[in-house]
């Protein structure tokens, strides 16, 4: 089984706040598309799906969640968790589904266009490590 590592810390560029702003909302909507979830699980899922490329401050997710709730793109409910404590679960609602579909379409178009102009993002993806060498 290959061990996936980052292609070198120096090669990793920190995404600016401006680049991320607004897009974090879309990422969260995408995570919630697969079912209701809560803050910590959303962060974990985001990190897993992004394969470590996005390193969000975990606490920064909550202002975004509250904003999405205010915009009525998601709904929240407190439920008893397995640890016996109350936990806030978020779920996507119809307006959120529509927003996600729109954002996803826009992103795919933009991503395709950017890829053509700037080149592929292949070199940013983690490389499989072979003993003694990195492919």
């Amino acid at each position: 089984m290959p061990i996936w590592v980052l292609s070198g810390r120096r090669n990793m560029t920190r995404l600016s706040k401006q680049t991320l702003d607004g897009n974090v909302e879309t990422l969260i909507l995408a995570v919630l598309e697969s079912g209701p979830s809560y803050g910590y699980a959303i962060v974990k899922e985001l990190n897993e799906r992004a394969e470590g490329i996005l390193q969000l401050g975990e606490g920064t997710i909550y202002p975004v969640l509250y904003r999405l709730e205010e915009k009525k793109l998601i709904a929240a409910r407190w439920r008893l968790a397995e640890n016996g404590r109350q936990r806030k679960y978020y779920r996507l609602i119809s307006k959120g589904h529509k927003a996600l579909a729109t954002n996803r379409r826009q992103w795919q178009m933009l991503s395709a266009a950017m890829g053509k102009v700037l080149g592929s993002a292949e070199n940013l993806l983690p490389q499989p490590q072979v003993k003694g060498a990195t492919i």
């Binding site: 401050g57 975990e58 606490g59 909550y62 968790a81 109350q86 936990r87 806030k88």
Partner: protein
């Protein structure tokens, strides 16, 4: 629950500055997150104490997280990083009805760079009145070292009614746009009432800046004391 976690949550809630009822819910949610993260790290073999600090570190600084949790547009928003948004907004960047900041945008804007209906600053751009080093008021009056506006007063003045000082390199009293000569314009104030009005307007303009700055300092001091009272280490 670790004291470090409780203290971190106290600080986040302090910076968030929300109503009591909202704060309780936010705190419960963040606490749940941090507990889970700590448990996850501990399960991976990280010593308990390191796990707590790791969870806090990954969560972000209390100030950043707390500011992020503030209301979108509050009555009063004072912050030392990021953009303050509120009826009265004070911050490095500020957006509000009355805004103070390095970059201030508002109906009344005070800052190094100020944009608004009334703007005061090093670079002031305003619709009605701008007062500053470089002062631009395309639709109104501009007062500054360099002033451009319908009524412009400054060392270098350019506008419908432009009045400049008597220095060799200044565009002195010459209207570069349509309108009358600046010196002719001043002649309107040669009556007693005119002089009184001119002095009053000028005094008001120049007093407004220190008065508003005094108000801002007072508000900032209150915020400083609020944080200091809750946790003196935060203002050290």
């Amino acid at each position: 629950m670790s004291r470090a976690l409780q203290k971190y949550l106290d600080q986040v809630i302090l910076y968030a500055n929300r109503k009591e009822k909202e704060s309780v819910k936010i705190r419960a949610e963040l606490e749940d997150h941090l507990r889970q993260k700590t448990a996850d790290l501990a399960a991976r073999g990280v010593p308990r104490e390191d796990a707590v600090f790791g969870a806090i570190e990954d969560h972000g600084t209390a100030r950043t997280v707390g500011y992020g949790l503030r209301k979108g547009f509050a009555l009063l928003d004072v912050r030392t990083e990021g953009t303050a948004r509120g009826f009265v907004a004070i911050g490095p960047r500020a957006v509000g009805i009355i805004a103070f900041g390095n970059v201030a945008v508002g109906l009344f804007a005070f800052g190094n760079i100020a944009l608004g209906a009334l703007a005061f600053g090093a670079l002031a751009i305003a619709g009605l009145l701008s007062l500053g080093g470089i002062s631009l008021a395309p639709l109104g009056a501009a007062v500054g070292l360099a002033a451009v506006g319908q009524g412009a007063f400054g060392m270098i003045a350019c506008g419908g009614l432009a009045v400049g000082l008597q220095v060799p390199w200044a565009i002195d009293g010459v209207s570069l746009l349509s309108g009358e000569n600046g010196l002719q314009f001043l002649q309107h104030f040669q009556t007693h009432e005119g002089t009184v009005a001119l002095v009053a307007i000028t005094a008001w303009l120049f007093l407004m800046f220190p008065i508003m700055n005094g108000v801002m300092c007072s508000i900032k001091r209150n915020e400083y004391l609020r944080i200091k009272k809750a946790d003196p280490k935060l203002v050290e």
